[in-house]
């Protein structure tokens, strides 16, 4: 399952690279997130619009409320197609692995 999710994420990078007309993806496929429930969901959803280094960069100073606000902004403002259940899992993962 873990391997599958990485493959899916890497396919996503590739497709985005093509659609973005060669926008730099640089070394982003080398980014590794911490293990934990929800990691696969983060890797397949968040990566649609941005590289995963945004997560570690914004750590470890956000508490659960802070991560919840960030995930909410991505869904409500930026239009990330993430269901409320998925959002909950993502917030759990981010606040336990990258929270304060």
């Amino acid at each position: 399952m873990h391997v599958m999710s990485r493959v899916a994420a890497q396919t996503a990078f590739l497709l985005i690279g093509l659609f973005a007309g060669g926008a730099a993806t640089g070394g982003e496929d080398a980014i590794t997130l911490k293990d934990g429930d929800g990691r696969a969901l983060v890797e397949t959803n968040c990566v649609m619009c941005h590289s995963l280094d945004y997560i570690e960069m914004n750590s470890p100073f956000l508490d659960r409320k802070g991560w919840d606000a960030s995930v909410n902004k991505m869904i409500k403002v930026m239009g990330a197609p993430v269901s409320p259940e998925e959002a909950q899992t993502i917030v759990d993962y981010l606040s336990s692995r990258y929270g304060k």
């Binding site: 985005i16 007309g21 926008a23 941005h50 802070g66 960030s70 930026m78």
Partner: protein, 400 residues
């Protein structure tokens, strides 16, 4: 000679034993995760810069490079909100000008802009509103910039005013809006469209630039044409311009509100954006006066009892730098720095200050004052987006 020797000394190692193997990716006050995830990486056509995020690309200029009078294009910081950044074919590209409060419409090629309008060049600082956000205390979410989300360049192009006047500006014009070709990946992501007040659009210093430091505008800096709003933060300097609209009503949308807002009345700002103000917040406008020590690195060893030069830059929202004061004892006493060549009121101003350090630890600080008498703060004026951080830069050095 001296500065070369300093450079050699400066590479000798950190005073804490030189154990830090990582390259300098920014001040120690940045979030732990920012320091661990930052690397030096290279976008096509650029030098290795401090990578904050790969996609969209957010890359920071190392502070030592900012000490130069003009930041080389290859080392200039890169900031994007959205990940789809098409390369524009300059021959096929057209700029559309129109809008409800424009008398007519225009479709301008690059060739027409170059041939039919007066070329103008201005030296101006381009600084991200969130420069130094990573130094906010407490930390706030966003791109965790250190000191280098800024650069100084010579921007050449035409006056926006001249283009708008060719289209015709009606008396009801309130704001002028700008849209570039970059966009989000998901359809629902709000397009990055920004407006400035009509009076600012008609200011003779507001440019549509097609050259940067004497070269055609590079891709990462907005090829083929970008807006240049000297004195104002880079959120308004829209890249890859495709469409300009003269508006009869204030622009709405996420990027105007709630994004890029500062609390009202907390900063000493002259230029206001009245049509966008509400009871508590106002859009960020001009830059606050600021300075940076560029040649000394925190926690480095330097030689005592021989002159040591402190060098750096100062800048503001376009009033011009009047003076820079330097302290080498943590702010107890101050001396006046010598200012470098004046490239105009919108440019950074280089400065230098020499002192002969005694052996021991020294806290070196720089504080700029502009021609309005505004100066930098010692305490952070906290705001939720981490804007306008002009806290006096301070570097700890050890002299042996």
């Amino acid at each position: 000679m001296l500065s070369r020797r300093r450079l050699l000394l400066a590479t000798a190692g950190l005073w804490a034993g030189g154990a830090r193997a990582r390259p300098d990716v920014g001040p120690a006050a940045l979030p732990e995760g920012t320091l661990s995830s930052s690397t030096y990486d290279t976008l096509p056509g650029k030098l290795p810069l401090i990578k904050k995020s790969f996609r969209p690309p957010n890359f920071e200029t190392p502070a030592r490079v900012l000490g130069e009078a003009f930041t080389p294009n290859e080392a200039f910081f890169v900031r994007y909100h959205l990940s789809s950044i098409p390369e524009v074919d300059p021959a096929a590209w057209r700029l559309a000008v129109g809008g409800e409060a424009a008398a007519g419409t225009l479709s301008l090629s690059l060739d027409v802009l170059r041939r039919e309008f007066t070329p103008v060049e201005i030296a101006a600082v381009c600084q991200c509103s969130g420069n130094r956000r990573g130094l906010s205390n407490p930390h706030v979410p966003g791109v965790q910039w250190g000191h280098g989300a800024m650069g100084n360049a010579r921007w050449r192009g035409v006056r926006l005013k001249e283009v708008l006047e060719r289209a015709g500006v009606k008396s009801g014009a309130v704001e002028v809006a700008f849209d570039g070709t970059d966009s989000g990946v998901v359809d629902k992501t709000p397009d990055f469209v920004k407006s400035i007040p009509a009076w600012k659009a008609l200011d003779e210093n507001t440019l549509l630039a097609y050259e940067m430091n004497g070269e055609p505008l590079p891709h990462w800096h907005g090829a083929p044409l970008r807006l240049v709003v000297p004195g104002w933060t880079a959120t308004y300097w829209i890249k890859h311009l495709a469409r300009i609209e003269v508006l009869a009503q204030p622009l709405t949308g996420f990027w105007m509100n709630p994004a890029y807002r500062i609390p009202k009345g907390r900063f000493p700002i002259v230029d206001r954006f009245v049509s966008q103000e509400n009871e508590t917040t106002t859009p960020i406008t001009e830059m606050v006066v600021n300075s940076l020590i560029t040649n000394l690195r925190d926690r480095m060893l330097y030689r005592s009892r021989t002159p040591l030069f402190v060098r750096g830059i100062a800048w503001d929202g376009g009033y011009g730098i009047a003076r820079v004061d330097v302290s080498t004892d943590g702010g107890r006493t101050w001396g006046t720095a010598e200012l470098g060549e004046d490239f105009g009121r919108f440019s950074t101003r280089q400065w230098s200050f020499a002192f002969v350090p005694e052996p021991g630890d020294h806290v070196v600080m720089a504080r700029a004052t502009n021609r309005l008498g505004a100066s930098q703060s010692f305490e952070l004026v906290f705001n939720p987006a981490g804007y306008h951080n002009n806290v006096v830069h301070s570097v700890n050095i050890r002299c042996t």
